[in-house]
């Protein structure tokens, strides 16, 4: 049994480097559970991998909940196929859940697992390449029979042919043990077998001293209508725990202390990006004192926001599942005309379909949130994998000059704040706004300090209530396109307001009156005015993190790459090198100081999960050559990978 110590290459954070020796020696505590040895670690990366039907996502979610309750910092990476039930036992059917937890502040789900739980040969084969030598692998030996192994091309058993010699393998007959443990429940073999994920969860929970009450009460609640199944799962979970405690193969368990120092005081919970985004929308509705209206069409990985919002009708939230993407945004725009805080949620293919309506919203100048949970493209692409390749679509993907502000959250919890920020822009400037999240943020989770309601921004708006213009003859009239001189926003006059009856549409409008106008000079003026309105949106200046002030290399990212970039920057700095870091939340308009910041550094590295879309925008706007570093594998960057890229730039 070796200790689960990360090799230096995987160390994302300085804390680990400082505590490496502590890791190596461990802290031996006799008298732990079963008098086995207990070692203290500062962080661990676990990956559960199995068949799509093995319940790996649930297992990962439960371990995450236990870990959050315990007070570790954590970051997760669910990874699953688009098929609901891919063919059993095949490589494409493997579903996994990676969890990184620590006693200090961490930023990513981790580069490589210290522990792999492989429920079948396919899971082992699909994941082994990511597992560093010396790591622990817990293998469900029951599945390593001839056929399942042949299915994924194992001619000999990796358990016996020596190919796993470099790892610390724990062969555990998980299926048999689970069935044995559930003998008294009178379940069929098949039913009993299904609890094997809970057996694995129990074993891992023992290994890492996770609190168990949460999972037990979760199981009883989840299977409230089938108490026998609930108790069977609890029994399997406990059997897994006891197995760890009594079996000699598991001689050591580990403690990862709560990350008390990493968090400011407050109340915390674990939250995924889509959940945080949904909560942000509800909060924005409350802060704006406007009813929330969601028009949406189901699409991966955005559907969870529709599901979540539809559960909160007691907040006055209306959710409309439309016949298609176009109707989803159409209904939202109609609701915006009526005075709702209107939202549509989708992913890249849906944005393509909504483009014309987004253009209409630009022309109507009504507030509207377009939430794009990006996934791999083009076309259907990789529905369950992440990518940042919709930036240019959000920026330019419409006919005519149709500028739309873009806001991008950087972490799962940040989706809450980003939603409020997007709502602020939409409501203040009467414009559609893109909120660009992605699959990694949507499904990943992290601890979140629950905000005090009193801290939330005031988003209240003032509807137009009377005439706003005096004609030459002294008549008081309402002009729907007479703008606020400061924001260039037009008045929001909702139906039901007497005296303000007016007509708006997608045809070019005369400045002020909003009447149809084909006048060349007026069109030129209106196009430039709509652009000027978006260009003039107030966004905070970009802050640069450059602790020594000596860096000549700047790393500039946007959106979900924040975690891996920051972890990599910490590594590089941990090695005594200076590097500056900045992260864009606002992609349109850019912060006013961006050009100045870029020019301050000799080298600017721009990592993106696309083929260089931000780099393209920067080059076009500021005439600077950035070092674009890109990856479109459907997976987030790894910290180690980025650290190498940054060092190369620094050395250059």
């Amino acid at each position: 049994m070796t200790s689960q110590v990360s090799s230096p290459a995987e160390q994302a954070e300085p804390a680990e480097q400082q505590s490496e020796s502590q890791n190596l020696t461990g802290q031996r505590k006799p008298g732990g559970p079963g008098d086995k040895e207990v070692r203290r670690l500062d962080r661990v990366i676990i990956r559960f991998a199995g068949d799509s039907g093995d319940g790996m996502q649930l297992t990962g979610d439960r371990f995450t909940s236990e870990t959050a309750t315990f007070g570790n910092d954590l970051s997760t990476l669910p990874n699953f196929p688009a098929e609901i039930r891919a063919p059993a036992g095949t490589l494409p059917g493997v579903s996994s859940f990676q969890l990184h937890f620590a006693d200090h502040d961490i930023l990513t789900p981790g580069d490589a697992p210290n522990v792999l739980v492989a429920m079948n040969p396919a899971a082992l084969k699909a994941n082994l390449a990511d597992v560093p030598r010396g790591s622990e692998i817990i293998i469900n030996t029951d599945e390593f029979t001839k056929r399942p192994m042949a299915k994924v091309g194992y001619e000999t058993s990796p358990l016996e042919d020596g190919s796993l010699e470099a790892y610390n393998v724990h062969p555990v007959p998980l299926t048999t043990l689970t069935i044995e443990a559930l003998k008294e429940f009178g379940l069929s073999r098949k039913e009993a077998e299904r609890s094997k994920n809970m057996f694995a969860l129990g074993l891992l929970s023992w290994m890492y001293h996770r609190p168990t009450e949460g999972t037990e009460s979760f199981l009883r609640k989840k299977f409230a209508k089938k108490p026998q199944i609930a108790e069977a799962n609890v029994a399997a979970y406990r059997a897994g725990w006891n197995f760890g405690e009594t079996t000699e193969d598991f001689a050591v368990s580990y403690e990862v202390g709560p990350a008390t120092a990493a968090f400011p005081a407050g109340t915390y919970r674990n939250i995924s990006g889509n959940l945080a985004l949904a909560y942000g929308l509800i909060a924005a509705s409350r802060q704006a004192d406007l009813p929330l209206y969601l028009g949406s069409y189901p699409i991966t990985p955005a559907s969870d926001i529709l599901h979540e919002l539809s559960r909160h009708k007691n907040f006055g939230v209306r959710t409309f599942q439309a016949e298609d993407e176009i109707a989803g945004i159409g209904a939202a725009l109609g609701a915006a005309f009526g005075g709702s805080l209107a939202v549509t949620t989708t992913s890249g293919p849906g944005v393509a379909l909504k483009s014309e309506t987004i253009g209409l919203a630009v022309s109507l100048e009504l507030p509207l949130l377009v939430v794009d949970i990006q996934r791999g493209g083009p076309s259907t692409g990789l529905p369950t994998k992440t990518e940042q390749a919709d930036l240019l679509q959000a920026m330019y993907g419409r006919n005519g000059e149709a500028p739309v502000p873009i806001v991008a959250p950087k972490t799962p919890a940040d989706c809450f704040d980003a939603a409020l920020d997007a709502a602020r822009i939409a409501l203040t400037y009467r414009t559609p706004v893109f909120l660009l999240s992605d699959g990694y943020l949507a499904n990943g989770s992290e601890p979140w300090r629950v905000p005090d309601i009193g801290e939330l921004p005031d988003l209240r708006v003032r509807f137009a209530h009377g005439p706003n213009h005096e004609l030459a003859d002294g008549t008081e009239v309402f002009w729907p396109y007479k703008r606020d001189p400061e924001t260039l926003a037009r008045p929001w006059a909702v139906p039901g307001t007497p005296g303000l009856e007016h007509r708006i549409g997608g045809i070019e409008k005369q400045d002020g009156t909003g009447n149809i106008s084909y006048d060349p000079a007026n069109h030129d003026f209106m196009v430039r005015t709509r652009q000027a309105k978006v260009d003039g949106i107030a966004v905070p200046d970009l802050t640069v993190d450059d602790p020594t002030g000596e860096a000549d290399t700047l790393v500039l990212g946007w959106g979900s790459t924040y975690g891996p970039i920051t972890a990599a920057v910490r590594r590089v700095r941990g090695e005594g090198r200076a590097v500056a870091q900045a992260h864009l939340r606002h992609l349109n308009p850019f912060p006013a100081n961006l050009g100045e910041v870029l020019k301050r550094y000799d080298k600017v590295v721009v990592p993106e999960m696309n083929l260089g879309q931000l780099a393209t925008l920067l080059r076009a706007r500021f005439l600077i050559e950035t070092r674009s570093y890109t990856q479109v594998s459907g997976m987030p960057f790894k910290a180690e990978q980025l650290a190498d890229v940054f060092k190369e730039a620094i050395n250059d």
């Binding site: 919970r269 409309f320 109609g334 303000l500």
Partner: protein, 359 residues
């Protein structure tokens, strides 16, 4: 069932949440200051005048009336109504109006669309609005041609139509909008003709009073690209043979002195036109717009010959009560408050599994 409106009558259920006008209104109140820009002689003028003339009868606060349209000649309609209005994009008006109507039950929402807008590019939104039964009144101006793009055949054009895009004749079989609407679970379906102001107004009256989606197909003459398309229904002599006027509760008879009638063929269950005789007079079908089953209404819609327009039924083919989407949506919001209490943001954000870090 469907209530009819007259001066001083009580407000129908469909409009009970819409505020009333404080003063008596006239047609003039509903005319906007915009110059009407349809071609001289267009059937749209007659429909506009009929709608503006009918609106005062509803007695609604005009700030609570909204006209939403798509793209096409007919879709310019909202600009000419002195109400709230939106001229949106091609085919999407029913979707936009759905969002407005389902979030604002205090509004009377009307959709103005054409055969291309509603049945080609927007066909999906139309059928889904109908099945949902959102409180919308959809006026479908059918001129069987694309006017704004200068004369291509439309999804209601007769087969073999020679147009700019079909010099050898169009190949597609046309939609019958009434049949389509009935097939799409519409709770109210009617047909009328632009030039018959009285009939048009009576249909609008019934549509306005209907709770849920009402589809009114209005045959409308495009005097530039498809002039005379409905002449057979307008010429007094020809109309006698061509038009079947439906009135709820009345035997379905037409022709000179009601010489013809509609009976059910006992062999097939289908409907057919017969000469009325003393022997068959008792078996002439009595029109029941409120029949729960759409079968007979559908069969009536199929009597019309798509080429000659002979035996075209006009009037209300179907008008049945069905739960209204916007009402049910609101009911769910109220039920959620009853079940779970009014939403509390702090409780929601905290969730069930929190831990505290002491500074």
């Amino acid at each position: 069932m469907t209530e009819t409106l007259s001066e001083g009558s009580t407000t129908p259920e469909a409009l009970s949440l819409v505020p009333k006008a404080e003063a008596k209104q006239s047609m003039k109140d509903f005319k906007s200051d915009q110059e009407v820009r349809w071609c001289p002689g267009c059937g749209d003028y007659a429909i506009l005048a009929a709608v503006q003339g009918f609106m005062p009868e509803l007695g609604l606060a005009k700030e609570n009336i909204v006209f939403v349209s798509g793209i096409g000649c007919s879709s310019r309609f909202p600009y000419y109504m002195n109400t709230y209005g939106m001229h949106s994009i091609h085919g999407r008006a029913p979707a936009i109006a759905t969002g407005l109507a389902s979030s604002r039950r205090d509004l009377s929402v009307w959709v103005v669309t054409g055969d291309g807008d509603a049945l080609s590019i927007g066909g999906n939104h139309l059928i889904h609005a109908l099945r949902r039964n959102v409180n919308l009144k959809i006026l479908l101006f059918n001129n069987r041609i694309y006017g704004l793009t200068k004369g291509q055949y439309s999804p209601t054009s007769e087969v073999g139509k020679i147009t700019k895009s079909t010099p050898m004749g169009s190949l597609d079989a046309p939609f019958n909008p009434v049949s389509l609407a009935i097939g799409a679970e519409a709770s109210f379906v009617a047909r009328t003709v632009d030039s018959d102001r009285k009939h048009l107004t009576s249909v609008l009256r019934e549509a306005a009073a209907h709770p849920g989606t009402a589809l009114v197909e209005i045959y409308q003459n495009c005097n530039i690209f498809n002039d005379g398309a409905f002449e057979v229904l307008k010429d007094k002599q020809q109309a006698e043979e061509a038009v079947i006027r439906l009135e709820h509760g009345q035997p379905i008879r037409f022709g000179a002195d009601g010489a013809k009638g509609v009976v059910r063929d006992p062999a097939t269950g289908d409907l057919k036109v017969v000469e009325v005789t003393p022997e068959n007079e008792a078996s002439i079908l009595v029109h029941d717009a409120h029949a729960a089953s759409p079968t007979t209404a559908f069969a009536l819609s199929r009597l019309a010959d798509p080429d000659t327009l002979h035996h075209t039924p006009i009037g209300v083919l179907r008008s049945v009560d069905r739960p209204v989407y916007d009402d049910q949506m609101s009911d769910q919001l109220e039920a959620a408050v009853v079940q779970n209490g009014k939403g509390d943001l702090a409780t929601l954000l905290a969730g069930n599994d929190t831990w505290t870090v002491v500074g």
